[in-house]
């Protein structure tokens, strides 16, 4: 019996290739429209994918450290806030997990936490988040509040060699921590509506978080009562030691970028995440009916704007993609997140061809009907930490 895994998709603008918006199948004038995103989300939902991530950044040039990122005119530009976009997509979808990206440097952690809890309520337990540490210089100028921060990866390429990046990861850890604390701050049955005592709330079951960190502090409980999942699913993308450590400590699910299936074992060893960390491998995919067609499209795209990518690229047929998924599954990942090179074309191909082929090959975990994203991923719904403390007292 083959190893069975989950499939996910990563949604971003016109797709992951910078020239994707110029393809005839693209809808470049609709990238910030309701209709475009509703259609993408429904396709992904209908395909049975376990979750969809939605990219975000707090500047026009995205997370790019290129100096001309804000001024160049040849790239698709214009974005929607991902947490809100996910909230918009929740009523339009039924099963898929919604995992917006959020930057941990600038937003107020309290707003982010309550936004995610609300997404969990609105979606009936399908909320997640991908936390991104650090900020670019233009993001800092947009906010105008903090001038300090990373200038990009240091020459060594290692996060641990830049104190500003290390600090950004510590801050991201605090944000992850308070998202969970605020989610726990209301016990499940805190709303009692007791007519006899006249009490709407059992105040013993709502807890101020009293968080004092290096970067910020938060005193009170969440304003949002506990949501279906208890805590939203926290995820991160990680390529190296410090992010791996962040993921192992703070995430429920980590996206990794093995160069190929044989690299998976090493990554899993470095991650050291334990049983409750799900590991998804990223693949950037361009799918056509024949390998020759796929390669022709890819050549055209690369000629227009060469892609530099962290993830393995698969250009070919649905069968080629399934072969890669099978190899990654055998190597021990829990899932594969597909990054469509073009949207909506490669998402349509994933829904119409890749998923059915993977299912036929017996490498997909079927949807077992579990109501929440956590449960679908085999992760426990944690009790509120505050409730546990009382039991132990």
């Amino acid at each position: 019996m083959p190893d069975r895994i989950h499939l996910a998709v990563a949604l971003d603008g016109a797709g992951w290739h910078p020239a994707a918006w110029r393809e005839p199948t693209a809808r470049p004038t609709e990238l910030t429209s309701a209709a475009y995103w509703r259609a993408l989300a429904r396709t992904a939902d209908g395909a049975g994918l376990v979750l969809a991530t939605i990219e975000d950044a707090l500047s026009l040039g995205g997370r790019s450290f290129e100096p001309d990122a804000e001024t160049r005119r040849d790239r698709a530009r214009g974005r929607l806030d991902a947490v809100l976009l996910a909230s918009f997509l929740a009523p339009a979808t039924r099963r898929i997990g919604l995992v917006p990206t959020a930057t941990t440097t600038h937003p107020e952690p309290f707003h982010l936490a309550t936004g995610l809890q609300t997404l969990d309520h609105v979606s009936g337990g399908r909320a997640g988040v991908r936390l991104v540490a650090g900020s670019t210089a233009q993001e800092r100028r947009n906010f105008g509040r903090r001038t300090d921060g990373p200038a990009g990866l240091p020459a060594s390429g290692r996060v641990e060699d830049d104190p500003a990046l290390l600090a950004a990861f510590r801050e991201a850890g605090e944000v992850a921590d308070v998202i969970r604390r605020l989610a726990d701050s209301w016990e499940d049955d805190a709303i009692v509506r007791d007519l006899d005592s006249g009490k709407f709330l059992d105040r013993e079951r709502v807890h101020n978080v009293e968080f004092e960190g290096e970067f910020f502090s938060i005193t009170g409980a969440s304003i949002v009562p506990r949501s279906p999942q208890g805590q939203p699913l926290i995820t991160a993308l990680a390529h190296q030691t410090v992010p791996y450590r962040f993921a192992a400590e703070h995430a429920d699910l980590v996206f990794v970028t093995p160069a190929d299936a044989t690299a998976v074992g090493g990554i899993l060893g470095d991650l050291d995440g334990g049983d409750d960390l799900r590991v998804f491998a990223d693949l950037l995919v361009l799918v056509e009916d024949s390998r020759a067609e796929a390669e022709a499209v890819w050549a055209r795209l690369q000629e227009r704007a060469p892609l530099t990518t962290d993830a393995r690229v698969v250009v070919g047929t649905a069968a080629d993609v399934v072969d890669e998924i099978r190899a990654l599954a055998a190597a021990g990942v829990d899932g594969v997140r597909l990054r469509p090179a073009r949207l909506p074309a490669d998402l349509d191909a994933i829904a119409d061809r890749v998923v059915p082929a993977a299912a036929a090959a017996g490498i997909l975990l079927p949807d077992d009907g579990s109501p929440t994203l956590r449960e679908r991923l085999g992760l426990p719904r944690l009790a509120s930490r505050y409730a546990r403390q009382e039991v132990g007292a």
Partner: protein, 450 residues
């Protein structure tokens, strides 16, 4: 001559003693189905917009969580954006604080809501400076009280600059030439002051509305100045007819100095209502609702927030406490300001109670649970119409007392009568933005960046 048109907003009943959770029909304050029902009802009644308050911290009373009223609510922006997916026409307006947000982020969130709703977003810009709410935010309680409206005005100006920084036709998306953005598609926004140092390139395209509508709710002189400068709607508390007319004249009179005309700012006071088949029946229901809104414990708690003392030994049906208020420390909830103000307030309440022979509970009912319009649907409709025709308001922000069905009766019974009078719309125009629904002048397009 055509009649002046009535504008209505629908306030989702939330966190206060006037939301009656003990009513047998009261549903969830948090499930999306409650919000969806409320929004669909308001849309069925052709309201201009639905309105959501904001929660930044759970209310506390004497350093403990306040447990008598509805507590807990969703994040305002997230729920409004979800509602954009299940509605087509109605405006979506939320309270969002200028102290505990940053302009770039809030402008892009509101821009997101505006795009996803096809131009139906609105922002009730409020200010805060208190350390109680600040304790949940990076900024903390840093903002000097006097700077609240300075920051709010700069925040609004900066947000407007960001929303207008994209040309309407910024996106060219020419696959042949490879030019996604036109030349000068996006203007850089610079704002340097004592409170902000922003050098921004906005990343959200312009919406069909140009920018979200801006609502203002404060009543201080600073608040009125902010409103006449920046707001499209005032959510006032002036509901007594003469007082409303006076407020209306004052605020509208200030507009010309800002280069604005009378129609560019709508005044929509909060209004509660109780309907009955007869006037007597409505009065009786009003009484029952008031007693549910102000239970004995609620009345005592209300006074404790002013006195800043334990008053649990007092009988809610008896006279006001004879002890003096504790003015040693400010209470967290903003009821207390300076010490003298507390004592003055207590004196005022005592005078009112004696003059009108009121118990604690009756006094608190007068203060928090007096219903604006009580009567038959015909009476309520004719009163609403009178206020608008005689320029006391441009309409009302209707506040029900039960979630989520509190608007059903108004929509079914009062709205058709307003329509019959020719003062209220019978349908939405296709593609109307919130600015259009409110009858506001269009937002000028950004013809091109410098």
């Amino acid at each position: 001559m055509t009649r002046r048109q009535i504008h209505l907003a629908a306030h989702f009943p939330g966190v206060n003693n006037t939301t009656v959770w003990t009513d047998p029909s009261a549903g969830s304050q948090i499930d999306f189905s409650s919000f969806e029902h409320f929004a669909r009802t308001a849309e069925r009644g052709f309201f201009d917009y639905l309105f959501l308050a904001e929660g930044l911290r759970l209310r506390e009373h004497r350093r403990q969580l306040h447990d008598l009223d509805v507590a807990g609510r969703p994040n305002t922006l997230a729920i409004l954006t979800a509602l954009a997916a299940v509605t087509e026409h109605i405006g979506l307006v939320g309270t969002l604080n200028t102290t505990f947000n940053e302009p770039y982020e809030l402008a892009r969130q509101l821009g997101t809501l505006d795009l996803l709703s096809n131009g139906r977003a609105g922002w009730n810009a409020v200010t805060s400076s208190d350390a109680f709410h600040g304790a949940n935010f990076r900024r903390g309680g840093y903002l000097d009280h006097a700077d609240r409206y300075v920051r709010a005005a700069e925040f609004a100006a900066l947000s407007k600059a960001l929303w207008s920084s994209w040309r309407d036709d910024a996106i060219e998306a020419d696959a042949e030439t490879g030019e996604f953005l036109r030349a000068d598609a996006i203007e850089r926004v610079r704002h340097e002051s004592r409170l902000f140092d922003v050098d921004a390139v906005f990343d959200v395209p312009r919406s069909p509305q140009g920018r979200p509508a801006i609502v203002q709710a404060g009543d201080s002189p600073d608040g009125r100045d902010f409103a006449t400068q920046h707001a499209d709607v005032i959510f006032s508390l002036h509901t007594a007819f003469d007082d409303a007319q006076q407020f209306y004249r004052d605020v509208k009179g200030r507009l010309a100095a800002n280069g604005r005309d009378e129609d560019s700012l709508k005044i929509l006071p909060a209004a509660t209502f109780v309907l009955g088949d007869t006037a007597d029946e409505a009065r009786e229901r009003s009484r029952e609702i008031a007693l549910a809104q102000v239970r004995p414990q609620t009345a005592i708690t209300y006074l404790e927030q002013i006195w800043n003392r334990d008053l649990s030994g007092y009988d809610a049906d008896g006279p006001l406490p004879d002890v003096e208020p504790d003015t040693g420390v400010e209470t967290a909830q903003g009821f207390a300001g300076r010490h003298a103000a507390i004592r003055a307030r207590v004196g005022q309440l005592r005078e009112q109670a004696v003059a009108e022979n009121l118990s604690i509970r009756e006094l608190v009912i007068r203060l928090t649970a007096t219903h604006t319009f009580v009567g038959t649907p015909e009476h309520v409709a004719s009163e609403i119409d009178r206020y608008v025709q005689e320029r006391a308001t441009d309409g009302f922000t209707v506040v029900g007392h039960v979630t989520p069905h509190g608007l059903d009766e108004f929509t079914d019974k009062v709205v058709p009568l307003l329509q019959e009078r020719g003062s209220y719309r019978r349908s939405y125009d296709e593609g109307a933005t919130l600015h259009d629904l409110l009858g506001l002048p269009p937002v000028p397009a950004n013809a091109g960046a410098r």
